[in-house]
Symmetry: C3
Subunit: 163 residues, 3 copies
């Protein structure tokens, strides 16, 4: 039989791991519904959000991160993020998670599809309100942004919260 101390530690680790997976699930759910307030609540105050080349998004601070989503989201008629295969490691009050992510969206401007497979590499911090993202970096395995009318068309327009 396990001691009470062992039981408590095992239970806490299971809870932590599930909370970290849940954070990734809530992230996708908030993106897909376009819920900027829910999305903002998932980040630590001084968090950093990076989307790699060729999107080249970098936002710092939960407010700027939420502003970035608020700006990007209307670009799409629909946007669906599908997170897979969470691999979580907890180390005290810090943790990492990695996900295989697929996205499918449609550009509102011209109806072309945006399809990608990527990897989220995350650092998380335990806060008084629970686990929050300290750093998320999205790196592409594959990206199909559809045929564009002109080569000058950029996939992401620079603006507030995008550096």
């Amino acid at each position: 039989m396990m001691t009470n101390d062992h039981t408590a530690a095992t239970l806490q680790l299971i809870r932590d791991e599930q909370d970290i997976r849940d954070l990734g699930y809530r992230f996708a759910d908030a993106c897909n519904r376009g819920d900027v307030e829910e999305f903002r609540s998932l980040w630590a105050r001084d968090a950093v959000w990076v989307i790699d080349d060729p999107m080249n998004v970098r936002a710092e601070g939960a407010a700027a991160i939420a502003g970035t989503l608020a700006q990007l989201r209307p670009m799409w008629d629909f946007f669906v993020q599908m997170p897979h295969a969470p691999v979580v490691r907890v180390d005290g009050d810090r943790a990492t998670s990695t996900w295989t992510v697929s996205e499918h969206a449609r550009h509102a401007a011209d109806g072309r599809d945006y399809v990608n497979h990527a990897r989220y590499d995350d650092e998380l911090a335990r806060t008084p309100e629970g686990w929050r993202y300290a750093h998320r970096r999205y790196g592409y395995y594959f990206l199909d942004d559809g045929p564009r009318a002109g080569a000058a068309a950029a996939p992401v327009r620079p603006g507030p919260g995008i550096h």
Copy 2:
């Protein structure tokens, strides 16, 4: 150290949340294998299954719901449901879950593809046999039902269990 009462409550919540995610996993697995009996076992006796416009399926009661699957499933050469990002909230003997779901199937009649992204919004009830669906509603983010030969072809034929 946690008290025994706290431990028991935390453990019960973790078990409930996992059982609710498992129900969604078993649902997809039963659909994909075409296992109508397993599918039926996931619903409360007086459950309601709604698939939104343009499919417009509504079935009431576990027997009618299973009958609806039994009728719909042979429409497809293959049918694959992919559930993502479960967000679960437990409140005593009731709970809700939401999922981002993708489906890919092929119409047996003419070989055209059926592809969609959608959202399942669920209400669940704790029963003596475990958590069961009381209400599932499927709402589309995106639907591509393929090019059809005639506009009169309906994606779902009315029949028993479809109202």
Copy 3:
């Protein structure tokens, strides 16, 4: 209130089930990153890996299984496995899991896409190092290997570890 024995047994089952889901997540993650050493660590020493017709891969033993991945992986410019809907059953020191899996890859040789939906049916063994795959069998619901230039081109070249 639960007894300590009941608590310990419930906690162990939750841990086992999660470890078994995690094994499937780490499997996909290792495939997608092309991490052969991590991939090898997920199998029992005398494990068997089967990929059904028309791929017809069968590898026996963790070393041969890892060698098979090492040989197959460079066939693809990118390879993304997306595991869904884990259904897990634990029975003492043995367990089963089933997954609905989608894969998307691109052939390095000619740039054609490889897309499939399938089912992983798994047998697992509890080892001193944790749960490991004893047997994984991949059976296709759907396979699109792209248009090929010549009918003689085989999707899998025979070689070490493929029987």
